[in-house]
């Protein structure tokens, strides 16, 4: 997982680079939570471009971060969500509260 904080926009860009399952979410979650408490971002954007696999563990992980950012008054967005992962976010209703900001065709 890589992250960059853009001071000017108070935006935290989180690029997830590993497969997302119950095993990997603990580590990813800890790192993101550290960044959120350190930078207090207005906006957090999750980039899924490098995520080759995600199961339902990703739903809880992203909703949990959304709640945290929301409590601090910020917003959460996702981008580069592949078809197989998008299916899971749509089925669980996650896309209704955390918008996908690009429209990747596939």
């Amino acid at each position: 997982m890589n992250s960059v904080f853009l001071e000017k926009d108070k935006t935290l860009l989180v690029e997830i680079t590993e497969e997302i399952d119950h095993h990997t979410t603990d580590k990813i979650r800890r790192k993101i939570d550290d960044d959120i408490t350190r930078y207090m971002p207005r906006k957090v954007i999750f980039d899924f471009d490098k995520v080759s696999f995600m199961d339902s563990a990703g739903i809880g992980m992203i909703i949990g971060r959304y709640k945290m950012v929301n409590m601090l008054g910020g917003i959460t967005q996702m981008k580069n969500v592949k078809k197989s992962i998008r299916k899971i976010f749509e089925m669980s209703g996650v896309v209704k509260i955390i918008p996908i900001i690009d429209s990747m065709a596939s």
């Binding site: 563990a57 809880g60 899971i88």
Partner: protein, 161 residues
């Protein structure tokens, strides 16, 4: 789920979360004999990951145990049986409900069974409290030749050669 099968494999591993990736990749490699599409393979990997995670965190509640997978390949489908000898499910109907989770403190979404059911063609749950749980799932994979035939038909209709 009767009929002659063309191939079979069995897998047993410790109920450790780092085996979740091992399990789904192994089943996907076995399933690849059926020439599935990338999407079908992704569906299988996700369903296996859900079932194995359930064995580890619900069946064994992160204690030591063995997760077993038996998979059979039929002419146009794959059957995957994933079982544990853990604590079992008290109320299967409740466990199947979307968004229901007995472990909300772990940020679990309660979507595991819903995902298995929508990504696979059949999902059966057998569970005995104190003895364990067995999930049997089936996915129909159309043979690639059939899909290619359909493609040829499509292109013929479009006036292609």
């Amino acid at each position: 789920m009767n009929g002659l099968y063309e191939n079979e494999m069995k897998l047993e591993f410790a109920s450790k979360s780092n085996n979740e990736a091992f399990a789904r990749i192994t089943v996907a490699a076995f399933a690849s004999q059926l020439d599935p599409t990338i999407e079908e393979l992704a569906d299988i990997k996700t369903a296996v990951s859900e079932a194995v995670t359930n064995c580890i965190i619900h069946g064994y509640e992160n204690s030591e145990g063995i997760v077993k997978i038996v998979s059979k390949i039929f002419a146009n489908s794959i059957e995957i049986e994933i079982s544990d000898s853990g604590k079992g499910i008290e109320n299967i109907e409740l466990a199947r409900k979307p968004l229901y989770t007995s472990k909300s403190n772990l940020e679990r979404s309660g979507m595991g069974f819903t995902i298995m059911e929508s990504f696979m063609d059949e999902v059966h749950i057998e569970s005995v409290v104190g003895l364990g749980t067995k999930i049997t799932m089936k996915k129909i994979i159309k043979k690639q030749e059939l899909q290619e035939n359909e493609k040829e038909l499509d292109s013929a209709e479009l006036g292609g050669r």
